[in-house]
């Protein structure tokens, strides 16, 4: 568990250093995800004993992904006044745009997949 957490933090650290160092518009943890894919490739390719237990911490975090958004979500409760001036426009915009985005994304995905002969 501790070893796998160290590997994850190491990947994030590498991602942050590269993203900030090169001024990339990609968040450090996303580059860290790419680094982690590299770690998993190494594990499957060479099976070093050090990387045998690299998954538990990540699996644990993903199983409780909802928990991690609670602190930011609580911030909304305390900051609802920023919405006050334009609340109706914002409420309609978020509702309409989120549903529209879901529909357009899923329909596009399916249309292209079907054209490629994927079920």
């Amino acid at each position: 568990m501790i070893g796998s957490l160290a590997v994850i933090l190491g990947c994030q650290l590498l991602g942050e250093v590269v993203a900030r160092g090169l001024g990339l518009p990609v968040p450090g943890p996303v580059l860290g995800m790419a680094a982690m894919v590299g770690v998993l490739w190494l594990r499957d390719r060479f099976a070093p004993p050090l990387l045998a237990g690299v998954e538990p911490a990540g699996r644990f975090l993903l199983a409780h992904l909802s928990l991690l958004f609670v602190p930011a979500g609580v911030g909304v409760v305390g900051n609802l006044e920023v919405l006050a001036a334009e609340w109706l426009a914002l409420a309609v915009a978020l509702g309409v745009s989120t549903v529209l985005t879901l529909v357009v994304s899923v329909v596009t995905f399916r249309a292209v997949a079907r054209r490629m002969g994927q079920a």
Partner: protein, 238 residues
């Protein structure tokens, strides 16, 4: 009385109280969500936020005090993003096969996410600052705030809009996709990750591991895509 006060001072100065409250609220919310058979309305993020937010308001506690305790949980968002590599690697063959549909959905979805939100607030006659702040609302919070900041908008408003977008997406995605008759969990997951970032992805993992995998990919891709699109979109309007 003085004894009680000393205890209260101790609790408000350390992270222990609000860290415990956050974990306990989530434990209750997750239990309720399980009891409700993972019904979309019984969303664990929403329930936890209402429980903790209600306690903060009732006790007159500042958000900054709360965050001193909750920051340890908030910090784990970064490592969790890295951990998305695990399902990605596990399903890599399926992901590679889906590259073309994903890229098509990314371009279409990313443009619609930003343009439709901006168009609605513009139709309501909202000021330019609001147009800027809502444009990156489907992107993961940190990136969305930096996009808004670069365009001269208010990142605090963007942060609130991002979280609300996540919750709306997590609540509507299951009934919407079922209504559309979509059974392809790659497509369903990718759509909710693109529209509603990590909160939508958390919902996707509740429903199906493949959906969660594709939602996680969409978060990263849409962050980059929206960073490219928003300056162009706002440039057209200005």
């Amino acid at each position: 009385m003085r004894q009680d006060f000393a205890l209260w001072v101790y609790l408000t100065q350390g992270p222990l109280l609000w860290l415990t409250v956050t974990l306990a609220a989530y434990a209750v919310a997750d239990w309720l969500s399980q009891r409700a058979g993972r019904h979309p309305v019984a969303n664990p993020v929403l329930i936890s936020v209402l429980l903790v937010g209600g306690l903060l308001v009732a006790s007159g506690t500042e958000y900054a005090t709360y965050f001193d305790g909750a920051q340890f949980i908030h910090f784990l968002l970064g490592p969790a993003t890295v951990a998305l590599a695990l399902p990605l690697w596990e399903h890599r063959a399926l992901v590679m096969r889906s590259a073309v549909p994903m890229l098509a959905a990314l371009v279409a979805g990313s443009v619609v996410a930003a343009a439709s939100a901006v168009a609605v607030v513009w139709a309501f006659g909202a000021p330019e600052g609001v147009l800027v702040a809502i444009a990156p609302k489907s992107v993961t919070a940190g990136v969305a705030m930096s996009i808004t900041e670069a365009q001269g908008g208010d990142p605090a408003l963007t942060a609130v809009l991002v979280i609300l977008t996540g919750m709306i997406g997590a609540l509507v995605v299951t009934p919407l996709m079922n209504g559309l008759g979509i059974r392809d969990y790659r497509a369903r997951g990718f759509a909710v990750g693109l529209a509603s970032h990590g909160i939508g992805t958390a919902r996707a993992f509740q429903v199906d591991p493949v959906a969660g995998t594709f939602a996680g990919i969409a978060i990263g891709l849409n962050a980059v895509m929206t960073a490219l699109i928003v300056p162009v979109l706002l440039g057209v309007l200005r």
